[in-house]
Structures are given as C-alpha cells and as structure tokens.
Symmetry: C3
Subunit: 303 residues, 3 copies
Amino acid sequence: MNNKTIDITNAELVMEDIIDDLIDFYDTKPITMFDDKKQVPSVDEVNKIIDDLKKIVFPSYFSQVKVNKENAHEHLKKMLFDLDDKLNKQIRLAMLFCKKQDCDEKHLKSVCDQFIGSIPKLQNLILKDARMIFDGDPSAVNLEEIIISYPGFYAIFVYRFAHALYQLKVPIIPRMMTELAHSKTGIDINPGAVIGDNFFIDHGTGVVIGETAVIGDYVKIYQGVTLGALSTHKGQLLAGVKRHPTLKDNVTIYANATILGGETVIGRNVVIGGNTFITSSVADGIKVSIKKPELEFTEFSKK
Amino acid sequence: MNNKTIDITNAELVMEDIIDDLIDFYDTKPITMFDDKKQVPSVDEVNKIIDDLKKIVFPSYFSQVKVNKENAHEHLKKMLFDLDDKLNKQIRLAMLFCKKQDCDEKHLKSVCDQFIGSIPKLQNLILKDARMIFDGDPSAVNLEEIIISYPGFYAIFVYRFAHALYQLKVPIIPRMMTELAHSKTGIDINPGAVIGDNFFIDHGTGVVIGETAVIGDYVKIYQGVTLGALSTHKGQLLAGVKRHPTLKDNVTIYANATILGGETVIGRNVVIGGNTFITSSVADGIKVSIKKPELEFTEFSKK
Amino acid sequence: MNNKTIDITNAELVMEDIIDDLIDFYDTKPITMFDDKKQVPSVDEVNKIIDDLKKIVFPSYFSQVKVNKENAHEHLKKMLFDLDDKLNKQIRLAMLFCKKQDCDEKHLKSVCDQFIGSIPKLQNLILKDARMIFDGDPSAVNLEEIIISYPGFYAIFVYRFAHALYQLKVPIIPRMMTELAHSKTGIDINPGAVIGDNFFIDHGTGVVIGETAVIGDYVKIYQGVTLGALSTHKGQLLAGVKRHPTLKDNVTIYANATILGGETVIGRNVVIGGNTFITSSVADGIKVSIKKPELEFTEFSKK
C-alpha cells in the first residue's frame, strides 16, 4: 500500500514522515485548509435546524416540552429566536464560504426573516402532504403515524424548507438538508426541484428527483422512481439547463419507473406503471405499462 | 414565499404575526395540538426498546456489560424489567392515542407479558435467520459478522419483534419499529407481513414487503425486490384487503424483481430472475427470467 | 406466539421461566456467549475510527478544533496516535475472535503501522474522487459541498480505507466499515472490490458492488446499479471464486442497470444505459441501451 520501509524500532520517525505528507497535502491542495474567515457550515447544526422546524411545525409530536394553549406563544417565541440564531450562523458561513455572495448583515437578516416568515405557509402545505399520504396508503392507520414515522413524509417535510432556502439563493445549506433526509430515508430530492401541493411518496427508498424537475399537484410516486437526466456526460457544462422531466397534476408513478429528460412532459392524470423506462412525453389521461412481461419460464429441477 | 412586507425595523411585530399564524394553525387543525392524555409515542424510546432487545437476545454482541454464566441471570432480570417498563409506557401512549383501544391496566399488562414471553421463541427464529444468511452468502466469513453488521439480518430481527406486537394488536409501535429499521437499512418490511422460518435478505436496499404479503420458509430475497400491490388508487378503501403476493417455501428472488398482486402466488422452489416484473402466479419448480436482454448495441465514438 | 399460560398473579415465576429459556439458549448455541478472550469488535468504536479518518484527511471540514498551519503538526500527531490506539484495540478483537489469525503483538503493530502509513496516499486518491464527482455533476456548486454532504463521496471515502484493511487481511472490521457507510448512504460496496482512481457515484441509493468486482479508472456509476453475481445458490461453496464483473477504464453505467457474472467484462469507454440487464461481456467503445421501451399506452378514464 505504501512503499516506505516500516521500521518498528523507528516508529516515531515514520510517524513524522506521515505527518509531513499530510501537512504537505494541506498546503498544496487549496481546498483542504481554511483560514478563520472560510469555514464550511456544520452538518450537526443543519441537522438541529431541521429538528427545530419539526418542533415548531408539529410541537405535540416532536417537542420535549409539553406545548399547550397556555404556553404555546412563549414556546414558539423562544423556538423561533433560537432557529433564527442557528440559521444566521450557518447561512453566514455558507455565504462567506462561496464568496460569490455578499454577506452584508442586512442581506443576511433579510434572508433569515423571509425564511422564518414562510414557516406558516409551509406548515399548511406540509399538513396537506400528510393527508395525501394517508388517503393513498391502505396500510396507514392514522395521520399521526405518518407524521412520526413515514419516510416519504419526512423527505417531503425537509424538501419544502430546503426549497425555500434554495429560492432565497442560500448556497450549500439546502443540499445539506436534503442529503440529511436522503441519508435517513433513501429519498433524494434535489432542493431545486419545484413540487406542487399534496405530494405523495410511499416506501420511497431509491427515489431520485433531479434539480430541474417540475411536479404538479396531487402527484404520487413510489419507491425506486427516478426523475432524471438523459445523459450527464457533459458534466458541469449542463449546469442551469433543464435536464429533468415535468409532471403535470394528478400523475401517479409506480415503483421503479424511470423518467428521463428535460423535455419529457408527463400529462395530467397519467398513470405510469412499474418498471417502465420513459424518455419522451406522454399525453394527458394515458396509462403506460410494460407491454407484457417478456419472461422465460423453464422447469427447474432443484439441486 | 410570503406576502408580508418584512420591515426590518419592525421585526418584533412581524415575529408576533408569525407566532399568531402558527398558533392559529394549532387551534384549527385538531391533529397538531394534544392534551395531557393524548400524546404520540416517542421514536427515541421505541429505538431504545429495539436496543434492549438486541442486548437481551445477543448479550455478548451488543451489551456494554460483560455477560457470562455468573451474571447472566441477574443481567437478564434487570434488562427484562427495564424493557417491560419502556414497553408499558409506549404501548399505553399508543393505545390512548388511538382511542379505539381500551387501555385498562390489565389488558396492557397482558400484552406486555405476552410480548416478553415470546422473546425466547423469537430468539431461536432469529438465530435460524442468521444461519440462513451465512449459508447463502459466499462473502460472509462467520455468523458473528452477520449479527453485528449485516443490514438484512437487522431488518429481519426488528421485523420479528414488530410482527409480534402487530399480532397483539398494538397500534403505531410496530410500524415505528420497522421504519427505524427501514431508515438504517433501506429495507421496508411492513410489520403485518407473515414471514416463515429461515428468511434471507442480502444487500437489501430498496426491498419492500407489503402488509399482506405471506412468505414461506427458506425464502431468499435480494436488493430492490418489491412484493407490492397492483394498484393502490383506491387508497384507504383497500385497508384490510390482501393486496400483496404469497411466496411458498424455498423461493429465491434475485435483485430488483417486482412481484405484484394479492392473488399472485409464487410456488415452491421457484427461482425468480433479476429485473423481472411479475403480476400473475408461477407454478412450483419453475425458473423465471427475462426472455433475453432486449438491448441495442451501437458503436460509440467517445467525445 | 408462545404457549405458556401467562398467570398475571404469578408474574415472577413466569419471568424466571423466560430467563431460564434465554440462558439455556446462550448455553447451547455456541455463538452467543463469549469468554473474556472472545469478544466482537464494537460498531461504535469502528464508527469513531471513520470519524477520526475524516478529521485527519480533511481537518477543516470535520474537526471541531480549528486546524491551521501553526497547530497542524501537533493536531495530527494527537489524532494519529488516538487512531492507532483505536485501531489496535478493534483489530486485536477481530483477530482473536476469528482465531484463524495469530495475534502476536508484532504482527498487530505492523498491520496498524501499514494502515496509518497508507493514509497520505489514500488522501490523494480521495481528493481525486471528489474532483471526479464535481466534474460530472451539473448540480454540484463546489468541491466542498461534495466533501461535506454527498453520499457517493462518503461511500467511496469509507470504501478506500476499508479496502486498505481488507488488503492487510484484517477480518470483520472492513465489512463493518462499509456497512456503516451502506446504512448512511444506501451504497453497498464490498471492501474486497478493487476500484481504480477517479471513481464517481451519484445519488447512489441501491448501488451494490460485489466482493470480487474489479473497476478501472474514471468509472461513473449512478443509483440502483448492481455489479453482482449470476447465481449464489451454491452459497459458501462460491467463497473466493470471482463472481462479479470487471469494468475497464472510462465506463459509465446509468441508473438501475444490472451487470452480473464473474466473467462479464465491460470494455473501455463503454456506456451502459439505464435499466439494462447485462450478463455477458461488452466490447470497448460500445453504447448499450434498452432496444426500445416496450410499452403499452392505453387511454385511461380517471375514476
């Protein structure tokens, strides 16, 4: 693995060599060592921001404090100020880090204020998502079960807030948020995707929704569905180009279907069957399915 | 995102508006604010219940305490009483929460006792699962490696206990348990599924086993396999209907196969090849595979 | 679930029965009870080893301590000695556990030294992986975002170190490491796989790379791709046999493609389209895709 001669009686010297190599690397690769002004945002703090949002939106579900009519005002005030403080710190780091963005205090404050101001609207959207998931899942027993344990709900919750920050042009933090949800749920929604009201994801593992996807209202998606790009071999040259499909209202996409391409439009009320592979548009009101299972059945003498 | 005018000199007033909107939401959406009697079970506590079960079933693997012949009795007694206490609290919350269920102390105690009484039987089942996984995986080195690190084993472990609570008609908690395992492993087994002895899952990411699936003994399943419903557009109207397939003994299903429908029965000794899509029954002893890869090969001048 | 009669007035006796059953199990199943010499390595400690490696390789990203030119040497020295200590303890447990391996102190020390000596080389490899991921992903904004939040990068990072331990014939620990990454990312890379420079995984959920896969330089893999075995029904008899494919340099494999078989060789510059199922070799410079989507389009009157 390494062509130094390891001299066991000489361990200290070897260790010094390794340290020198590592420091050399820090010095010559500018991305690895930062000064006091340039620091990456903290994954742990971003995780805490998500936890705060859960406690603010659904206090009775996630807050350690018992929230009732008497203490709700005081509780919320404290929670919102804490959230504002955390947001301010992490967004400042992200803005300073990316340099492209100015970070005058006024702009930073305005971004945080706009985000916090959007919470009530997002709270309403998110409850509609929970209802959509409940209505569509015969194995769901009640709405509360969905809020505390369904991965599809959690991924949508995090996406809605990450997308709000993405719209405010906050760098890095939105993707950190959706990747935390991706890690927990296996559902990878890019914060840039535009998703309408009453969105439904069930099971969800393996779902990928690309950055430039546009999704209407009342759309249902099952596990393993990709809304992806046709080809990405041009890499960074494609940044900003619409590469992912558009889904109109009321579309249902069953498990493991793949829909690719920025010009692919799936019309209203379309149902896409499981395991399909779609690279061109589908008109309104069509049901698409695999022609017939092209399978071979052979008798099989078990060894 | 929100059409309030953000007046930076007037931040306090804006914050009051946001708080009012949130409290309004809590007041008018009955699902968000609970009284002292109605509280959701705690995800953290349910996670601790799973950890306790690991330490009870395989003390030498997961317990911080060194368990040996001398202290095993004392250790287990303490662990079982702790577990009983945690179960009692969370099941009480779940029962009170769902209201449909009475929560007289006698019934609650009987449920906890029956669950704890089932641990030795489940311990035996689970060790058989570990052996099945070891025997079927050429890359496995020993049984212990499977118990401490294999996701398929972990998902089956959690499912077996969640299913025991499901059979005792405990609401919410079983699904919370399997969703915790889903989050860790990408394997989504509904606690309602009925699964025989010696069950094997390898790799596992993307596996979905629906609520009404019935699986025999010695069944092997690989990553990305769905045992799902043909259509769920009727949503809650389908609650209780058998929507997911039945697999007889000795069935093997390779990666990313999809098997759908409550009337689909996969016969004994059947082998289902990778990437197949199956919506009708398969007789005993048949091997099913994709007819031939319908692929296009074009010469490709790399740009 | 269990056919003991639960007598509620007699709870103590019932509990004693359960404890007896559990202890009986420990006594009769040789795998469950260990003596002082035989203990399994700790998942928590192996997780800490990964965290240490992150802090050593990219201090400005993951270290709580602010690392700069002045304190880098001291910081690294401390980190490397801590890492050595943790490695030493866990590798000793793994070696003693598997018995096959001797664990004389000299051999153990040599293994730890060789591993730590390989860190600078792996640090270079890993930064090349990050660059490859950045160049290939139009939605990536900068390299730092990839290092702190991309699951593909994290899985490759962990794989590179796990593979180094695998090459040093350390048992159990390498798989524990890659399974920790699998749990976080949905990407399952067996530590035995041989992977060249500049490796790229995007989205990644559902990726499976088997133990005997061999992958060249500049290879790109998307979510849901399996590099697997054709059949594993011979189980442990296949241990050591090449069961997984070989990918030459510059291969791209799009989402949810499945490539199977130890004799399957994918040639240089090949592009494998999404959803393909491949069980035989492909010559250099070929693009493989699904012939045409075999789909059925039916008009669908929404109920």
